[in-house]
């Protein structure tokens, strides 16, 4: 097991956002975190990354406990709604991020080509459209050399063709032996790209497994992820 999460809880004032959340991430898989808006997906990711202090719970990485201040050495979390360094050109942001993480500059260039960012290399990040900005963020996430990547809504803002290309890129990354944990609210996208799924509803994990396993635990003979999610929540 790459990552084991048990009993993670978080309250903001009287509002319970995460309640005793627990699940596992297996080595080399693409795991999807599924849930509607407000289910606590982003809070869970930020707790795992150590960017929010959880009220309780433990995180183990390859059987060793991983304290919050050590998380950045094991996993990298890419937030959804950020627009980092808006005054800098795309080229600089990718080069700088690669250098920060000790990655060769050729890798930044390769990802820029794969994400069709080369034509935007001299554009300021602040001037990018939502989809372009999402592609840049995806590039930054994949530049981080960590064994486990947490990507928050990696397909949000991408059109159909771009989503397919991004999925192919994530599959390539997986094929290199890295593990991806994606937060996705579009169930169709999740079903297409993820090997296993964690269902989150109102801060609680209500299911974990492959689509078939989830279908079985929901008592459904057939049906898609949407039906399974509705049955389990």
């Amino acid at each position: 097991m790459l990552l084991s999460v048990t009993g993670v809880s978080k309250q903001f004032g009287r509002n319970t956002v995460l309640e005793n959340a627990g699940f596992s991430v297996r080595e080399g898989e693409i795991l999807g975190l599924i849930g509607p808006n407000g289910a606590g997906k982003t809070t869970l990711f930020e707790c795992l990354a150590g960017l929010i202090a959880a009220d309780g719970g433990t995180v183990r990485f390859r059987d060793s406990e991983l304290p919050p201040d050590g998380r950045k050495h094991a996993l990298h979390y890419l937030p959804d709604t950020i627009r980092p360094w808006p005054d800098q050109p795309v080229r600089w942001v990718l080069s700088f991020f690669a250098a920060l993480h000790g990655r060769p500059q050729g890798e930044a260039q390769r990802l820029a080509a794969a994400l069709k960012l080369e034509g935007l290399a001299d554009s300021r990040v602040g001037s990018l459209s939502k989809g372009e900005s999402k592609r840049l963020l995806l590039g930054l996430g994949l530049l981080a050399p960590h064994p486990l990547l947490l990507l928050d809504e990696p397909f949000d803002g991408l059109d159909f063709r771009q989503t397919r290309e991004a999925m192919a890129l994530l599959r390539d990354t997986q094929a290199q032996g890295r593990t991806l944990f994606l937060s996705i609210h579009q169930l169709n996208d999740a079903a297409r790209v993820c090997d296993r799924l964690v269902l989150l509803s109102r801060g609680r994990v209500v299911g974990e497994g492959t689509l078939d396993e989830l279908r079985a635990s929901a008592g459904l003979a057939d049906g898609g992820l949407e039906e399974v999610f509705l049955a389990l929540t």
Partner: protein, 470 residues
């Protein structure tokens, strides 16, 4: 590939982590110096992307220029330009007449403009979400803050261009410069900007928005002004504290003094601001941990400040030795080994106390091994003290012997102290007096440079910089 090479810094090999590797030291340590170069380059680019910084650069030229031109004109008039009566040459010092007013413009800029530049370097990262990425990046918080601090300092040194140009112009007009007092003054201004950076960075780290940070920083500045005012009128501990406010500390350097305690206290306060920022910037830290970290930082800083304030070494670097007795008197005073206790019955607002303090006691403190000054006045002004209150008396005590004097005049007080210490007063040796540097020169060409050329150069550079980023 060629286009991407545009940003390449000296190349290093990859340190990508194997997907099966345990997270650990190998991930963090290699090529940290290489990462730091990138961090520095990035923070410099972020500084240049700041409109506030460019605005500061545009404004600083005319500000410094106005101060310089006015100072040169006034100095020329005092030197007898235009056929008017000249002041005594000994009273004409370039430190007071040119350097302090010219660089005084920087004090204004560092108080009212620079904090906005410093705040942006933190707040922009927080607002754009970049901080979430930076916090997870390998260089770590100390390296990131160091890079921001160095970039700010480099930016400020760039803003010094008009001031350094003023020195060149002054020399070109035939003016005199005395290197020790000039470098000392520049050090004072450098410490002033380190302190301002620390306060602004701490405010930006603690506050949620840049606007709140700006209000907090200006609030701190106004607070130090209030402390200056209150300390001057109250004396005692408040006066001691007030002597380390940015304005008072800068005044020490403007007087040509290098006081180790002032240097260390100002540097410690500036670095303390960065330490406080390091406590508040990590996003995943709980409020209690932040409170504890802040308290620990404040306690450590208080300890350092208390220790620094005890440092006695001080040097008079002014060319006219305004902070020193004559060399013969200092040699005679150097023979005194016993501690001197001075009890002063003068109110803090009494001008005689100010004369005594600045003209005699502060000089004595630099030379004698131990000087203990007690203020025994009962009021703020001394206007209503009764005859039994000993008002106006100054008691000197050494080795069990006590002498009272009411004078605040240097030769009389020194005579009292030599008598008390049983040390032979020095004979008048006819030491070379400070000749002064009168110069009746007009600031030729300065107005063109400061009001037209420099702003145009900055605006053109800014236009070229932002043109590529539209």
């Amino acid at each position: 590939m060629g286009a991407w090479r545009r940003y390449f810094l000296p190349s290093r090999s990859s340190i990508s982590v194997s997907p099966t590797e345990q997270p650990g030291r190998r991930h963090r340590l290699p090529h940290q110096h290489h990462r730091f170069e990138w961090l520095l380059a990035h923070e410099w680019r972020e500084l240049l992307a700041s409109r506030a910084f460019w605005l500061l650069l545009v404004m600083i030229g005319p500000l410094v220029g106005h101060s310089f031109i006015t100072a040169v004109d006034t100095y020329a008039e005092a030197s007898g330009a235009g056929g008017g009566p000249a002041a005594l040459a000994q009273g004409l010092s370039p430190l007071d007449g040119i350097l302090v007013p010219t660089f005084g413009a920087y004090d204004l800029a560092v108080t009212l403009l620079f904090p906005f530049v410093a705040i942006r370097l933190i707040s922009a990262d927080k607002a754009s979400g970049a901080w979430k990425l930076m916090e997870q990046a390998p260089p770590g918080l100390p390296a990131i803050l160091a890079a921001k601090g160095i970039a700010l300092l480099a930016g400020w040194l760039l803003a010094w261009t008009p001031g350094l140009l003023a020195l060149v112009l002054w020399k070109a007009y035939g003016g005199a410069l005395y290197a020790p007092e000039l470098l000392n003054l520049l050090l004072g201004h450098l410490l002033r900007v380190i302190l301002a950076s620390g306060i602004a960075v701490a405010a930006a780290a603690i506050a949620t928005t840049a606007a709140s940070a700006a209000i907090a920083t200006l609030g701190f500045t106004v607070g130090t002004w209030a402390l200056d005012f209150v300390g001057e009128n109250r004396g005692g501990l408040l006066q001691k504290l007030a002597s380390y406010t940015p304005t008072s500390a800068l005044r020490v350097f403007e007087q040509g003094q290098f006081r180790l305690s002032t240097v260390v206290v100002e540097a410690a306060l500036g670095l303390g601001g960065f330490a406080l920022a390091a406590v508040w910037l990590p996003l995943g830290r709980k409020p209690m941990a932040r409170a504890a970290g802040s308290a620990a930082t404040a306690a450590a800083l208080a300890l350092v400040l208390w220790g620094s304030a005890q440092l006695r070494p001080a040097w008079d670097l002014s060319e006219n030795r305004r902070n020193s007795f004559s060399e013969a008197e200092e040699a005679a005073l150097g023979k005194i080994r016993e501690p001197l206790r001075v009890t002063v019955f003068l109110a803090p607002e009494d001008p005689r106390l100010i004369d005594l303090d600045r003209g005699i006691l502060s000089k004595l403190e630099r030379i004698l091994p131990a000087v203990d000054v007690q203020n025994a006045s009962h009021s703020q002004t001394g206007l209503f003290e009764g005859s039994g209150d000993h008002y106006g008396e100054i008691w000197y005590e050494m080795g069990g012997r006590r002498v009272m004097s009411r004078s605040t005049t240097e030769p009389i007080v020194l005579g009292v102290i030599f008598g008390l210490a049983r040390v032979e007063p020095p004979a008048q040796t006819g030491e070379r007096e400070y000749p002064g540097h009168p110069l009746a020169a007009r600031p030729t060409g300065a107005a063109w440079i400061y009001y037209l050329l420099l702003p145009m150069v900055v605006v053109a550079a800014g236009w070229l910089h932002f043109k590529d980023r539209s």
